[in-house]
Structures are given as C-alpha cells and as structure tokens.
Amino acid sequence: MNTPNMHLYILAAPLLSAFAVNLLGRVSRAWIGPLILAALGFSTFGALLTLLRVLRDGAYRYTVGNWQAPYGIELVIDPLSALMLLLVSSVALLATCSALKSVQNELPGREHLFFTLYMILVAGLLGLVQTGDAFNLYVLLEITAITTYGLIAMGPDRAPLASFNYIIMGSIGACFYLLGVGYLYILTGTLNMADIAGILPGLNAPAAVATAFAFLMVGLWVKMALFPLHVWLPNAYSQAPTGAGVMIAPLMTKVTVYLMIRVMFSIFSPGYEFIQHAGVQSLIVWAASLAILCASSLALAQRDLRRMLTYILVAEVAYMVGGVWLANGTGMTGAILHIVNDAMMTLCLFLAAAAILYRTGSLEFDRLHGLYRRMPLTMAAFTVGALSMIGVPPTCGFFSKWYLILGAVRAGHWEFMTALLISSLINAVLFFRILELAYFQPVAGLQATTQQGSGEAPLPMLSPLLISAIALLALGFGCGPLIENVIRLALPPGFAP
C-alpha cells in the first residue's frame, strides 16, 4: 500500500463515487449509502496511511502528469497537509452517516442529486489541502464554493435567498484572491508556491508585493467569514439542509484558515509579514480580538440553536486568525491545534443539533425543555461538545485555548488574551443556558414530535455523534503527542511550540 499516488487516490474515490451516485441513484436509492460510505472509508484509511508515511519519511512533492515544476501543477504533502487530509476525510465520514438519514427525511426523492454535490465538495476539500500551486488553489476553492451554493440552496423556505447572498459575498472573496494571484504572476512570472517564495525576497517592488498580499488576505478573510466580513455565514449555515450543515460548518472555514496559513508561510515568509510589516501584525490581532467579542455578543442574542452555533463559529475563526498573527510559535501551535479541535467540536455540536431537529422538528430554545429525559445520549454528547467549546479540561478545547492564551501573553497582546477569556465566559453562559433548559426544566406539555416519533435519535445519527464526543476527549488526552509529532513539524523554521 505504499504507492506514491495514495493522496490522489484519496481524492479520486469521492469524486468517482459522486458520479456513480448520480448514475446509479436514479435507478435505485439503495446504492447511494454503501457507495458513499465505502469511498469515504477508503479515503480516511488512505489519509491515515499518508500521515504515517509523511511522519516516517518526511514531506514530499508530487507533480501531476509528470510535468516538472514550475511548469506543472505540484502537490505538497507535508505534516500539516497530511493532518488536514486525515481531518477532512474523517469529519466527512462521520458527517455522512448522519446526513444519509436526515436527507432521506428532508429531501425525499432527491438524494442522488444532493449526494453528488456533497461528494464533489469532499473531493474539492481534499484537493484544497494538498495543492502547491496558487491558481490550482483558486480553481479548487471555487469548486468547493459552487457545490456549497447548490447544497445550501436545496434547503427550505429562505435558503435560496441565503445562498444567493453567499454567492455574491463568496464571489467577491474568490475574485480578490484571483487578483492577488494575478499580481504575484506579474511580479514573479510563475504560479508555483515554492517558486514564488524563492523569487519574492529578491524583488524590488514593495508596494506591488504588499498589494498582492492584501488582496490575497482579504479574499481569504471573506471566504472564512472573519468579522466584519461574516454577514453571509449565519443565514447560509443555519438555513441549509441539515445534512449539508453537518458537513459544511465544521470544514469550510477551517480549510480556509489552513489556506491562509499556507499563503502566509509557503508563498510569503514569516519575516515578511511579522517583521517588515509589524504594524499590520498588531492591527490584525486587535481586529481579531474585536471580532471575537462582537461575534460572541451576537451569539448571545440568538433564540435558535443552530444560529447560535454559527455565530460561535465566527468567533472561533477569529481565534485562529488572531493566533496565527500573534507571530510566535506558541500562538501558531494553538491556531493549528484549534483547527483540528474546532472541526471536531463543531461536528459534534452540529450532529447533536441534527439529531434534535430530526426528533423534535425545531431548534428554538423554548422547544428544548426537558430534552434530557427524551434523548439522554444526544444531550450527553452535546454536553461534551459544549464543555469543549467553553474550554474545560480534559476536553480538547481547553488545550488549544491554553496555547492561544499563552501565545498572547508571550507576545504581549493582552487584548487578545482578554478577548479569549471573555469569549470563554460568554460561551459558558450560552451553553449553560441550553443545558439548564434541557436538563432541569420539566418537559413542556405540548411537546410536538415529528412523524419520526419520539425517543432517542436513530442509530445512524447517534453513532457518529457519540464517536465525535469520544474523539473530543481522545484529542484532549492525545494533544501532547499530536503537538510533538505533527504540529511541531508544521511550524515554519525558527518557531517552536
């Protein structure tokens, strides 16, 4: 199993299954589930093998079509991208088990169309985390975006309008990114990331390089919904079909944060961002702190569980952006660890919300009374996810927040540390409110149930939820080895955790 093409087999499996699902799903619906789960299972297994191989043999580069760089497209498999491959494929696998059930409930008769878009999205995400070519990144970014537009628009009521607003904002972000790549191409004449990194320091065009960097950053910030560019996210993610939400919410913004890290460290060098433009660096950390406070405050005002989770998601993105821009190794370790942890936490919480929606039909707070008595396992997993969001040891959320706070202290950015602590308190308020409603309030008399009956969530939706809750604890206990063996290798040279 040591073929050099393994990381592309990981990408090819979901892509082929997408079109197989489209063809065979028209004939009979029973083909869809086994095909998708087999493809994603293969991808997860392959990603694990790739990660082990990279840790053993070191990073490697792969030229598609055997055209040498800089003429051909190059893929980069280093510890960070192998970690992201494993993260994306395992989160997709867990989300799909739940999505199969909720799509059957919400979009009967159209599952083959839904899952075609879904699997192309997974293939696009898997490609995004491996690419080493700036324009290939744009193409894959747009592939993931277009499938997301389609998936969100399949929702009920106001979902098409939310998706249209997402189209406008997402296209602005992607076009800004394209402009930035255009500037880089004018300056360096090549599109390969490593090649650009080699040519940029020797150039004498500071304004043009700064403009290119600004366009790239703003484009990616619009795509990852950094406050105040986040306006599209709450509507889009909370009105998407449940099966789409459990997959898009954990992954899309985190992969975009990974892309920002790639652009900052593989195209431009840390010296360029942190030393030459130190004013910009502190400005962005201040902006991230403000973003955390505003997004957390907006989350307090929500009355619907999924909308509240989307605002918390916006705050988490600001954690990661601030952590990377802190300019020391501890902050960066915290940010990369937070990518992994936040994907798992968001997956756990959105899976719990999907299970609750399946059984009770609504996620408003006043319908959540006494839910513990009806769905004990779901609420137990939700509790673990909530504790992780707040940052309680030994769940994984504590450790990434610890590194972020330590990085802020070491860098002297007290405002970022204050914002993180206040945000943890606000998260505590948000989640304890729900836990109090679910655990301690009596079951309301007119509790409506959907035609799916009452009781615990069905097994296909419950098992990924429990697995992700256990994974939160496992990531918490195992974060030491994770940082030592993987994340330490992902930091740029000269930075230590």
Partner: protein, 129 residues
C-alpha cells in the same frame, strides 16, 4: 505633472479595468434587484479576466499560434510572441464564472417561485410578515 499624466495615459488599459471593477462591485453591493447583483458579479469577473489577459501583452508581439514546420526549421523567438499562459488561466476563470452564473440563475428561479418578486427589499418584507 508630466510624469503623472504619462502614468495615466501609458497604462490606460489598467485604468479601464479598475473602472470596470468598481462598476461591477457597486452593482453587486449597491443594487437591490437580484438580477442586477448577478450582472455586477459578471462585470467584476470579466474585468479581472481582461486584466489577466492584458498581462501577456508585449510590444510588437504577434498572436501565439505558430506553424509547426516553420518552428522546426527556424526556431521561435519568444519575445515576438504573446504570453499564452494568462489566456489559458482565464479559460478556467470563464468556466467558473459561467458555472456560478448558472447556479445563481437557478436559485433566482426558486426565489421567484416562492416570493413572486426579485427585489431584495420586497423579499425581506415578505419574510418579515
């Protein structure tokens, strides 16, 4: 003053692209009709495509289509041929633009069927009711 004027006149194509981009950007954000927003997005993307294509231009250069046998006999002088790489990159960008337009138009049909109108303020009014 003289240098400023020569800057503007010599790089007139870039100024045109900037104007086009701003028109498209304003339409995307400032207009309230969904079709006008979509057209603004198209104008914005077209301006970026034109920007890329103009990168490949060289003074006195010809189009990048050469005769195979002439090249095998005489060789090729790269400075007399336009750079075809940005053209090829923009083919991909055009495909992306067409796809996004297609998805957006399909979404607008659904919105129209549900709300009966394509003006954003009227739709928000109907949602609020």
């Amino acid at each position: 003053m003289d240098q400023l004027l020569s800057e503007i006149v010599a790089k007139y194509n870039y100024w045109i692209y900037v104007v086009l981009m701003m028109i498209g950007f304003y339409a995307m954000i400032g207009k309230r009709n969904l079709v006008k927003k979509l057209l603004g997005m198209n104008i914005f993307q077209t301006a970026i495509i034109l920007f890329y294509v103009s990168i490949g231009g060289k003074r006195g250069a010809g189009i990048p289509i050469v005769d195979k046998h002439a090249v095998m006999l005489h060789g090729v002088d790269a400075s007399r041929i336009l750079n075809p790489l940005p053209h090829v990159l923009m083919l991909t960008a055009i495909v992306v633009s067409v796809s996004v337009t297609g998805v957006a138009l399909a979404i607008m049909i659904r919105i129209h069927r549900k709300f009966g109108t394509l003006e954003e303020d009227e739709i928000l009014e109907k949602i609020g009711q």
